[in-house]
């Protein structure tokens, strides 16, 4: 049986996936709400979780930081930033947050990730890898 539901209500529920070791989300737009919603289902029972990664398309660094901050979706990234900081602080072995960028673009993405994840950046809890 199927039920018509809006896409926004379809949450990736990770609450029962307590064996998870690593999670990688690759958003294809400026929306982060669905990622935050998925991470909100992670519980203290996820003891194996070691790595949280976010992959960005190669063109993401071309987005102007000021434009990004003024966009209506910017708040979604700050919500995600806050949630990931909570993860990092609430666990003795806080999962490492990694931004996966395209080869040779590490320098270009630094400002981009600082803009999206200001708190994680401040705490040194985010790494950029190619």
């Amino acid at each position: 049986m199927t039920y018509p539901l809006p896409v926004e209500s379809a949450i990736i529920d990770l609450s029962k996936a307590t064996k998870l070791r690593d999670v990688l989300f690759r958003p294809q737009s400026s929306r982060a709400k669905w990622i935050t919603a998925a991470f909100q289902t992670i519980t203290p029972n996820h003891r194996e979780l070691q790595k949280i990664s976010l992959g960005f398309p190669y063109f993401a660094d071309s987005l102007n930081v000021d434009t990004l901050k003024q966009s209506t979706n910017y708040g979604e990234w700050l919500d995600l930033d806050r949630l990931l900081v909570q993860f990092w602080e609430s666990r003795s072995t806080g999962p490492k947050v990694i931004c996966v960028v395209w080869e040779g673009q590490k320098r270009d993405f630094r400002g981009f990730t600082e803009c999206l994840f200001p708190e994680l950046t401040k705490r040194g809890a985010i790494d950029l890898v190619e």
Partner: protein
């Protein structure tokens, strides 16, 4: 006085050390007939048929006895040609009886070639090609999902499944609420305990097949890539089904992107 012979175990050990040196292996083949089986084990461990010309060359080289039984990784980029040749010669596919990793290309087909479930019959001779297949990588493009799963379910030990370029939804204007035939489930169908990797525009038909499996799915790794926002429902369903075994999750999707439409998730 007969010349001294190396014990077979020692000979095997020496040849095994040369497993990644093709020239040396070819030379070993010329030393003695007794050296041939072990060297062929390595020489033909990986075989790829890129096109009809490769098939012709194989048939010409091995007209009687195929060394296919030594092959562990078989890549067929032209499955239609291979199965047609098998129909002519007979038993050609059967010789690859110990394949563990099978890769099938199919995206060379023009869009819309396989529009219904009765098409794509070229996959039939490949069913159960080897009982030892543990991983299947299929570039399936517009193949009907039940045909693909007829093949998939014929490998009882299958652990890892990868499906790329799956555009059936796009080609056939499939709507997620459309019903599609479910592949018949043999008694010993795989339980899927490895990884599932899919790159698609339209995950629903595949999800429909996987969620219909009586034995369930138990993937430890999911790597799901879709350009369709609606596929978030299929993704959530797959994650939920595998949640007790899931160790690694990799999702590329855009559920809240440009188009937000109403969908029919599996429940």
């Amino acid at each position: 006085m007969s010349s001294p012979r190396l014990p077979a175990e020692l000979l095997d050990h020496i040849v095994d050390h040369l497993h990644d040196t093709e020239d040396a292996l070819r030379n070993c083949c010329l030393v003695s007939k007794s050296w041939i089986p072990r060297t062929r084990k390595h020489l033909f461990a990986e075989v790829q048929f890129g096109g009809p010309e490769d098939l012709d060359a194989w048939e010409e080289t091995f007209p009687v006895t195929s060394p296919g039984r030594y092959t562990k990784t078989l890549t067929i980029d032209c499955p239609e040609v291979v199965t047609a040749a098998d129909a002519q010669i007979g038993g050609w596919i059967e010789s690859f009886s110990h394949v563990v990793h099978l890769e099938l290309g199919g995206s060379s087909q023009l869009p819309g070639t396989y529009e219904d479930d009765e098409s794509a019959t070229f996959l039939v001779p490949l069913r159960g090609l080897s009982p030892f297949v543990k991983s299947l990588d299929i570039d399936c493009y517009s193949l009907p999902p039940s045909r693909i799963f007829d093949l998939i379910l014929s490998f009882p030990l299958l652990e890892d499944l990868a499906m790329t370029n799956y555009g059936y939804v796009l080609i056939n204007k499939y709507d997620d609420s459309d019903g599609l035939p479910i592949a018949a489930q043999p008694p010993n169908h795989p339980v899927f305990t490895g990884s599932f990797k899919v790159v698609t525009i339209g995950l629903a038909p595949i999800t429909h097949q996987l969620l219909s499996l009586l034995g369930g799915i138990h993937f430890r790794k999911l790597a799901l890539t879709s350009e369709r926002g609606e596929d978030i429902s299929s993704i959530t369903a797959l994650v939920e089904k595998c949640s007790h075994t899931l160790e690694s999750l990799d999702i590329t999707c855009d559920p809240l992107g440009a188009s937000i439409r109403r969908v029919h998730p599996y429940r």
